[in-house]
């Protein structure tokens, strides 16, 4: 069975796929989105909703983060309530003199890049976060760090796209691609063939598998992370609070377990505590060690948490990219194939920027930001068997 063709077929209804769909319909393109599960059922419902500039280093990633932040608070501001957007501000806490020194170094560089950040001393920190550990020696405050509820982002972006004619097909898995010569002209799915002018890979951590169907190498790998959720409490954590060591974890490519605390409250009163990073494939085997370390770190940062109950924990697989940059744009190796994936731990925050830039390119316009640094073909072809990984 072959359905009516669309200009764009988006594979994956996570935050990134939903944002691509939304912006493509704004460009006047006809859009169909497929997901093999329920929309938002992938990583975008197994994460936290931080929109951070504080953890970014200067370069294309920071540019994309800033571009996205401006969209969240700018043209998307009218929807702020539907996805619980809140400009909470982030605080990075240093508990040792040595981490304070590296934090200062990072601040200086970020400030040069136009990020708004203030260094605050222990006393000012306690004024902002009265329950933080008294052992903290200093901190940095980022007033722009924000938060959204990721599942609501996906649901509402898709609803906006549907409102402009997009079709969303859940429980529809892509099993192959349709070709005309070398050109990709649609996808074969468990619900029939879906022809399209452009096929967009928004398959998140499964992007490598999807790309393999298209015959291209895209080394996006799953990087697992745990989050714990506490019982609902009266407000006692007022910002997004991280330990200075978090920044180091984000930037590493180490595959072993790392964990540093990220603590934030939600509008429902629960506190979310993240997070760990480890490369164990798509394993669902529970790591008691990861949970233990997250709990130990969080209670060190906020001692009152010791007596607070954890109701549940969950884990997701960040779409990890070897050079920490997402893959966004047309794939020079396969005409008709485009990518929007590999945002690792920042795909919620950067979803809207990614969607808007890709939609501009798909519509034949020059994107607001240069997409070259995100070129999907930059990883080259797969390393030869037996060669270095």
């Amino acid at each position: 069975m072959t359905a009516r063709g669309t200009d764009v077929l988006v594979i994956g209804a996570g935050a990134v796929g939903a944002a691509v769909a939304h912006y493509c319909t704004l460009q006047g393109l006809s859009v169909r989105v497929v997901d093999r599960g329920a929309p938002g059922g992938g990583t975008s419902s197994r994460c936290e909703g931080n929109i951070l500039v504080s953890d970014k280093e200067r370069g294309p990633e920071l540019d994309l983060a800033n571009y996205s932040l401006a969209l969240w608070h700018g043209e998307l501001a009218e929807h702020a309530e539907s996805w619980e957007l809140e400009r909470k501000g982030g605080i990075i806490v240093a508990s040792r003199e040595t981490s304070l020194v590296s934090l200062r170094r990072a601040l200086t560089a970020q400030r040069e890049h136009g990020i708004e950040v203030q260094e605050i001393d222990a006393e000012a920190l306690l004024a902002l976060e009265p329950h933080v550990s008294p052992g903290a020696v200093g901190a940095a405050f980022y007033p722009d760090d924000s938060q959204v509820m990721p599942m609501q982002v996906v649901a509402h972006l898709l609803a906006l796209a549907r409102g402009r004619g997009a079709e969303v097909l859940p429980y529809c898995e892509v099993t192959g691609l349709m070709r005309e010569g070398e050109r990709i002209i649609g996808a074969r799915t468990t619900r029939g063939d879906l022809p399209a002018g452009a096929v967009v890979d928004a398959a998140g951590p499964w992007a490598a598998r999807f790309s393999a169907l298209a015959g291209v190498h895209l080394p996006i790998a799953p990087r697992r992370g745990y989050v714990m959720v506490t019982e609902p409490l009266p407000p006692r954590v007022f910002h997004k609070v991280y330990a200075a060591e978090y920044i180091d974890d984000v930037g590493t490519s180490d595959t072993s377990l790392q964990s540093s605390p990220v603590v934030e409250s939600t509008p429902a009163g629960s506190i979310l505590i993240g997070s760990s990073r480890e490369q164990v494939g798509f394993s669902d085997a529970i790591s008691r060690e990861a949970l233990q370390r997250i709990a130990a770190n969080a209670t060190a940062l906020f001692p009152f948490l010791r007596d607070v109950h954890v109701l549940r924990h969950y884990h997701g697989f960040r779409p990890y990219s070897p050079d920490h940059l997402p893959a966004i744009g047309a794939d020079a190796r396969a005409t008709g194939l485009w990518h929007a994936t590999g945002h690792e731990g920042a795909g919620i925050g950067m979803s809207v920027g990614t969607g808007k830039l890709l939609a501009q390119a798909l519509a034949g316009h020059r994107p607001d930001l240069d997409l070259d640094p995100f070129d999907p073909a930059r990883f080259g072809d797969a390393a030869p068997a037996g060669g270095p990984r």
Binding site: A155, V229, I273, A295, R306, V308, H309, V310
Partner: protein, 474 residues
């Protein structure tokens, strides 16, 4: 116990007591773990003084002799050093390790403190069930309880949680709960049964298969007649009234789907407790954590798949009691015996001696239970004429209107998506109370039941406890 346990039995209700008693005949490293302070589970729940020597049998209990026999067996095994009972201890999580051992993460109940890990060669999981609840206007008022909660209150406190009680929902358990209220000196205003019980007639033979059940039922019936308690068929609670707590209850006729028929409302005044029960939901979180195969039973419950030896699909994990299907206490005992023997047999390598008596008791109770479930279905139409503003998720205060809007406008068509968009099921009870309701919003009933039953911790743990957790044997 410093070594690896041979058999750990989780739950000390009818199934677990029988499993532990049998396991201790074949093994000398048996551990019985229960979250409660005393043996007995839901069915033989009792107060401290009921355990004193020479204490009279509590008048609301059935099969108390069986309880005493099982307790005596366990005491003997304990004295012989073959068995240990860990009371007030919750199994918060259950992992299957790569080496095939089962790891149990234990914490004190109910505080969730002192996490320890225990390794076991086999586990017999008998965690029982809790009352299935469905939303109705006014059900968040103080004085509205689960029918099982009303009965548990009587069993432990030896008094009624109020003065005049209305019981409503479906199933013979409403009769048992009413009987306990009457025996404890309370008044029962009425029992509203949503079904019309015609289901029992063609399959009436099943009741005759289990004589004990017939006797229990006849005793309840006599008691209700003596106290002139109205037993109203095809009647559902349509609204509970009250300002600070329950004052009166509006009941309506029910149609074939169990939905209230508009215009048939009648108000029962002067009620201070409402006990609602739509059958039971097995506690499946540990089953799902272990990754064991599950299926939907006749009553829509998610239950574990077992073979003739009560073995689950996970090697070394056995299941007995409500977790394999809600069949009642005597069926649970038969299953427990079979599972306990099989678990000890697996460890010793000696094939378990099969007991024809237990196996046939098990089949009789299962037949009886399916007839009962068919006669008392949880009403498919519970939401048909429910007020839009009725709260479905009590913890997060999510209304029916919010859920249907998320379904119709945002395309959230399964419990997990609905939870993500509305927070229904994310609160303190982790979806235990709204599970039955939320499952109905799914398009795939089995998947929906699994989603709403999935919980990574069976008991909330403090961060301090988690932070100081250490791997290894206790």
């Amino acid at each position: 116990m410093s070594e690896i346990a041979a058999v750990v039995v989780i739950g000390a209700g009818p199934a677990g007591l029988a499993a532990a008693a049998e396991a201790a005949r074949g093994s000398d490293r048996v551990l019985l773990v229960d979250a409660g302070p005393r043996l007995g589970g839901q069915f033989w729940r009792h107060g401290a003084k009921d355990d004193l020597p020479q204490a009279p049998a509590p008048r609301w209990h059935h099969g108390w002799d069986t309880y005493l026999e099982l307790r005596t067996d366990l005491e003997r095994a304990e004295a012989a050093g073959r068995l240990e009972h860990l009371a007030s201890t919750h199994v918060a999580a259950l992992d299957v390790r790569e080496d095939g051992l089962l790891a149990l993460h234990l914490a004190l109940s109910p505080t969730g403190e002192q996490l320890t890990t225990l390794l076991a060669e086999t586990v017999v999981l008998c965690p029982g069930a809790y009352d299935r609840q469905l939303p109705v206007a006014g059900w968040t008022l103080p004085g509205v309880m689960a029918a099982g909660g009303v009965q548990a209150f009587v069993k432990v406190q030896e008094q009624v949680p109020g003065r005049r009680v209305l019981l409503a929902g479906t199933g013979p358990f409403l009769l048992a709960a009413a009987a306990s209220v009457l025996q404890a000196g309370g008044e029962v205003a009425a029992i509203c049964e949503s079904g019309d019980l015609t289901g029992w007639v063609p399959r009436g033979a099943s009741a005759a298969l289990v004589p004990g059940k017939g006797r229990e039922g006849a005793q309840y019936a006599a008691l209700l007649v003596r106290h002139r308690v109205p037993y109203l068929r095809r009647r559902v609670v349509s609204r509970i009234h009250g300002t600070d707590r329950v004052e009166s209850v509006e009941i309506s006729r029910a149609d074939d789907r169990g939905a209230q028929v508009p215009g048939t409302a009648q108000v029962l005044e002067d009620i201070d407790v409402v006990g609602l029960g739509w059958g039971f939901v097995p506690q499946a979180e540990l089953l799902l954590q272990a990754g064991a195969a599950s299926r939907l039973d006749v009553d829509g419950s998610l239950v574990g798949v077992v073979d003739g030896e009560q073995a689950s699909s996970v090697p070394g994990l056995f299941l007995a009691g409500e977790i394999t299907g809600v069949t009642g206490a005597s069926g649970a005992v038969a299953e427990g015996r079979i599972a306990g023997r099989a678990a000890a047999g697996r460890v010793s390598g000696r094939a378990a001696e099969s007991s024809r008596k237990d196996a046939s008791a098990r089949s009789r109770h299962r037949l009886f239970a399916s007839a009962m479930h068919r006669a008392h279905p949880a009403p498919a139409g519970w939401a048909d004429s429910l007020d839009e503003g009725t709260v479905v998720c009590r913890c997060e205060e999510v209304t029916l209107a919010e859920i249907t809007a998320a379904r119709d406008e945002l395309g959230a068509r399964d419990p997990r998506s609905l939870k993500g968009v509305t927070r229904a099921g994310m609160g303190m009870c982790q979806g235990r109370i709204c599970a039955a309701a939320m499952t109905c919003f799914g398009t795939d009933p089995l998947e929906a039941a699994r989603t709403t039953a999935k919980r990574p911790f069976a008991l909330p743990l403090t961060l301090g406890t988690l932070a100081s957790a250490e791997e290894g044997t206790e």
